[in-house]
Symmetry: D2
Subunit: 176 residues, 4 copies
């Protein structure tokens, strides 16, 4: 697709979902849902998923993907995450794939989410901001650097092509 | 625990399970089950898990872990994987965490497994042998190199401590 | 040795020296010289090396290493880098292996160094601070993430043991 | 340039040269010289460099680069490395950037090179073959996996773009 950033790498999504630990009955938010890939995967276990993106083209794209996947329990919101999150009062887990105003988003999530908060970051600034905000809120659990390389066939053998490295920053209530 | 190799890293397990794509009703084998960590995780979705290890202390350890986790659908086998696999006639997915006689194990799995076969390797020789065997059998899908580093707090900040890099080699029927 | 941080990895040193591009006749500073490993390597090409560390045990150790290596062109300083750098008026290259007051150190180096400034960082905070300071000063060239893994013989084969990942941040006059 | 494989990454070259440890007076060979980048860098310290490539376009390209760099001590050979190496009787160091018939090349180098032999590999098969050949010859020293990622400016910050991971395999006389 043409959305900036593209979909989350399969391997990074697998690790992020494992860190989130979503259980049946959970209410989950996906902030900066992009293609909807993580929201759809989460919706297979969660009871309800809120998917937010400020870009109309992202929400349109993700909505179509969700319909194709038969994911009927995803509620889409187009707009600013800070404003939308202010109106959601109970969450069990939160995934942040991308967001402006990250410190404010984390303030709101720290007050609302009972389980894990997982941020994916590719930029140094986002990594730094996510750790710092979580430390300030007393919810920082860990950060993981994931470097995935995938095999590619070339003449004579198999080599590895690296994917963009991603930081997975994990926070959780009472876990600082 | 004291078992050689230790348990599979959480992140590597998450990726391996995602590649396996286990579904409800599936019959899964864990070859070289070690601590039982992957078998127990697989047993939460699969109908039945066969867990094999040639080391009595591994089987004893894994059995205890499975009991503690309330995993009642894992059948343990102590012995040589090649001999044990010869007596299992239908499998939906296979995880190979470690094994002697890997080419023979893969021969048997290629003939029995309807879905994915996932091998974890830390040694160059195992990586090479797994790819080569899967190519020979026409079932090689991909190999992924995973380098996970985890945050550690040190004076003044957060640094990353690297885990041992792991190769995840994926095969599947009709997917060469 | 017992110095905190230990010596710079061989591979990281090779890359850092390549980025520094030291030439015969150059005057070079090593800020936070630790074991003296980088200062000694730099002294083989440079005309003069200033090696600074605020820890007496580091300076004592590095001095001994330099003597053993026959490196007669290294001048050692024990104390605060900011104060010591204020008295050095011309430099061709600077390596910063570690330092408190990094932004101030970079302010001074940006005003004094005619060639490259290379910072090694293991902490997220140092990486962030180094990039930010260099951007502010208009001298940021690039940052490189180095993940080195070294072979280790284990029963049956060769595996890779990862070293701590290191960020190499490069700045230079007129290169922003 | 259009040569397959492209030039060696700067960081990988820095590490490879450090492992080679070329000294003034040394006679060095670059097998599979490609763009000539490593040969030219080696020629700055070595007394004489033999640069071999079986592709006429590589030799032509490298020759031009060497001339532009003022490297007058590089002798170029177009052809099969096994045949050409058979006629060189004394070498102090050898770099193998790429080669068919690697085991035979290593046989010849093991008999001729007094110092270090460094192979760069991107393929699993080459890594495996290089280690295995060096072990057979009793000259295996170590293998290093290098994953370099370089900063890239994107909207709002700095991210890291990964380069292809490279294996640096090191051998040396009497070092098995």
């Amino acid at each position: 697709m043409g959305l900036k950033g593209g979909p989350t790498q399969d391997e990074v999504m697998a690790v992020s979902l494992a860190k989130l630990g979503i259980r049946p009955g959970d209410r989950v938010v996906d902030v900066g849902c992009g293609t909807g890939k993580v929201a759809i995967a989460a919706s297979r276990v969660a009871e309800h998923v809120y998917a937010i993106d400020r870009r109309p083209e992202a929400v349109a794209y993700a909505r179509k993907e969700a319909a194709a996947a038969g994911a009927g329990n995803i509620e889409f919101f187009e707009g600013d995450a800070v404003e939308i999150l202010a109106n959601i009062d109970r969450l069990d887990a939160a995934f942040v794939g991308g967001s402006r105003r990250l410190p404010e988003v984390l303030d709101l999530l720290a007050a609302t989410v009972r389980g894990r908060i997982v941020v994916n970051a590719v930029m140094v600034e986002t990594l730094y901001e996510a750790i710092r905000s979580m430390q300030r809120l007393g919810i920082f659990v860990e950060a993981v650097h994931l470097q995935v390389s995938r095999s590619a066939a070339i003449a004579g053998g198999v080599m590895f092509k690296p994917q963009n490295p991603v930081y997975v920053i994990v926070g959780g209530a009472g876990c600082s």
